[in-house]
């Protein structure tokens, strides 16, 4: 399908082309850019609302700053579609997120305008600060470094660590806080309330506009005048806010809030800020989904809606004539609620993924016992640990790749303290279109090496459900061990999955198919591929045995003895990294048990 850009956008191949336009044309550029994003995402899918919300900001940033010499760092990067389109990738944008196509996130390999690879949140301030410090050391004082970070991403510890350093580092760093009050789900926490307070304080905003007017004049008069203006501005801000501004107290000069959809105002504000040295933050208020009514209204649904009819807003869904298996995340969500209804000790924790993990099902029914703690994986793990010290049965649900950020908390706050926290790692294995930042490739390896940690993966929905039930029982606490339950993105294999709970033996695998000569050992849903493989092989008269080992730790030693006595050829299959994974665990076991086995080929 041919999607034509508007008449100005058509001739913008790099930001250089954009910068040749008159300021009065920027409104049209933004309108065309927004339309192009709507046209493309409706047909090819991808993230939607976030990019629509920063159309004006994207245009203004590339207009005012000399990218790529000035370094623009996007946080998370799911909002960078406009940036990609303006920086030479419009013509390949139809390959966005497709195999071998362009990435859905900024990627250093893809373009010199993508200064930093992203996907996980809250890295932008630290990365841009690193670049700014390097520029300073090299004497490149003309270069600007801009981090664009959302109010959701701002809730993570890493963002605070970056600001804490930036406030004393004296570099040309501009942080743009893109405040739309939304994470994927509504943003949570005290910072959100604080930002709303500033945004809605009429008195403050009146003074701010006046200060801005004066500051603009002073900026054009030179450094000494700027210093005076700065003093006036700080005094006014301090008085009006009746307390010191949070960002100012970290040493960042705070500007805003400004309307992030007023392109001309944005351009003039950014021009002014370009001339103010040192670390500063511009608070922009935007609307996620701006310009597409349905996306403005239901921002969570339109975060990444899939393909849709842009006229009617109908999101295309496959229609099936028979019941389909559920998504693993929904099995988690519904099962947890069922268990929590029977067991008052159960709690659920998610760092900013209520919809993505389906913990929202329990949050709706039991708001006191299922908590969204913001984009704060480290905190999610430690708060779970704290709850566990008090005897709560905590299901802490984190995407496998996001858990990487909370590794020390898993070791220090959970395993060393022998706390039986239940980690449910969603999106384990290949995540798909989100790409390498989101693949849950390493969890078996990074969890398996920890004392007081078990690692399980269900082959299907019933296994997930039953294991959740098993570990929710008080008797699981006797192991003094945490457990990782990893499962992938997407659907399982059993449409009729709501069966009565059954207790599962801890650390025990099972046989799926008896066979000869070769044994296939699998862990997790990838075992279903082995089932298909066995069916294909059966047609050729080959009948390997298939075992679903369920646990990467503890390994089912007695089953392994049995397997190794019967077979001298073993194949292991897992949706995870080779080094340190389940296959490595089996190899280690074989190395430790040489008498029972013939080395596998």
């Amino acid at each position: 399908m041919l999607i034509e850009p508007g008449e100005l956008l058509r001739d913008i191949h790099t930001p250089e082309d954009l910068r040749k336009l008159a300021p009065s044309q920027l409104y049209q550029v933004s309108t065309e850019l927004r339309q192009y994003i709507i046209d493309m995402v409706s047909v090819y899918g991808g993230h939607f609302g976030a990019s629509l919300g920063v159309v004006e900001l994207t245009t203004a940033l590339h207009y005012v700053f000399n990218t790529p010499d000035d370094q623009l760092v996007w946080d998370v990067g799911h909002q960078a579609y406009g940036h990609k389109i303006l920086t030479g990738r419009r013509e390949v944008f139809h390959t966005n997120r497709l195999y071998k196509g362009i990435s859905g996130f900024p990627k250093r390999k893809e373009s010199e305008y993508d200064t930093f690879g992203v996907g996980h949140s809250s890295t932008s301030i630290s990365a841009a600060l690193g670049m700014a410090i390097a520029s300073k050391l090299k004497g490149e004082t003309h270069r600007q470094h801009i981090a664009v970070i959302g109010d959701g991403a701002m809730t993570a510890g890493l963002a605070f660590e970056g600001m804490n350093h930036a406030g004393v580092a004296d570099t040309n760093l501009l942080i743009i806080l893109n405040d739309n009050c939304m994470s994927i789900d509504p943003n949570v926490g005290a910072l959100k309330d604080y930002l709303t307070d500033i945004t809605t304080s009429q008195l403050y905003n009146k003074f701010r506009d006046e200060v801005w007017r004066i500051l603009g004049k002073f900026n054009r008069l030179g450094v000494r005048f700027q210093q005076i203006a700065s003093k006036v501005e700080n005094a006014v801000k301090g008085t009006v806010l009746k307390q010191s501004n949070f960002f100012e107290s970290l040493g960042l000069r705070y500007f805003g809030p400004v309307d992030g959809h007023d392109i001309n105002h944005l351009v003039s504000v950014l021009e002014d800020l370009k001339h103010i040295p040192g670390p500063k933050i511009l608070h922009c208020v935007t609307v996620k989904g701006k310009g597409y009514e349905l996306a403005e209204k239901d921002q969570t649904k339109w975060h990444a809606p899939g393909t849709f009819d842009k006229i009617t807003g109908e999101i295309y869904k496959k229609i099936y004539d028979k019941p389909q298996p559920p998504k693993y995340q929904d099995v988690f969500g519904h099962t947890l609620l069922e268990l929590a209804q029977q067991n008052p000790k159960i709690m659920g924790i998610t760092p900013a993924m209520p919809s993505g993990s389906s913990l929202n099902i329990m949050m709706k029914a039991m708001p006191d016992r299922a908590l969204d703690v913001g984009i704060a994986e480290q905190h999610a793990v430690t708060v779970s640990a704290g709850l566990a010290t008090q005897g709560q049965t905590v299901f802490c649900n984190i995407y496998s790749s996001f858990m990487q950020r909370a590794y020390d908390q898993v070791v220090h706050d959970v395993c060393i303290q022998e706390l039986p926290v239940i980690f449910c790692l969603d999106r384990a294995g290949f995540a798909g279109a989100d790409g390498p930042t989101h693949h849950g490739a390493y969890d078996i390896a990074y969890m398996r090496c920890l004392p007081n940690m078990m690692v399980f993966s269900p082959m299907n929905e019933l296994e997930l459900r039953n294991l959740m039930f098993t570990v929710s029982l008080d008797e699981f606490k006797k192991y003094k061990s945490a457990i990782t339950i990893r499962y992938p993105r997407g659907e399982g294999v059993i449409p009729d999955w709501r069966k009565p709970f059954e207790k599962m033996p801890i650390g025990k695998g099972r046989i799926i198919q008896e066979g000869e000569e070769v044994a296939i050992l699998t862990i997790g849903p990838i075992g279903n591929y082995a089932v298909t493989a066995c069916q294909q092989l059966a047609k050729k008269g080959i009948n390997p045995a298939h075992y679903d080992m369920r646990f990467a730790k503890p390994l089912d030693s007695s089953l392994l003895h049995e397997i190794c006595q019967k077979f001298d050829k073993i194949i292991t299959v897992e949706d995870g990294c080779l080094q340190g994974g389940f296959g490595s665990a089996v190899l280690e076991w074989i190395a430790e048990n040489p008498k029972t086995t013939i080395p596998p080929k």
């Binding site: 997120r97 497709l98 195999y99 071998k100 196509g101 990435s103 859905g104 294995g429 290949f430 995540a431 798909g432 279109a433 989100d434 790409g435 390498p436 693949h439 490739a441 992938p488 993105r489 997407g490 000569e517 070769v518 296939i520 990838i526 591929y529 082995a530 298909t532 493989a533 066995c534 294909q536 092989l537 050729k540 080959i542 390997p544 050829k569 194949i571 292991t572 299959v573 949706d575 995870g576 990294c577 080779l578 080094q579 296959g583 080929k601």
Partner: protein, 41 residues
Amino acid sequence: MADQIYEHGTQMELHRESGFAPEDIAQAVEKILENVKVKVL
């Protein structure tokens, strides 16, 4: 998955690329039976 960065695509495309789609598993079984050293991915 081998010791490399896998980019984006559908889960099945990536499973194929990394060598553990159903056909790959079947092929690995056949090769191991022929005593061909299977390159585990």
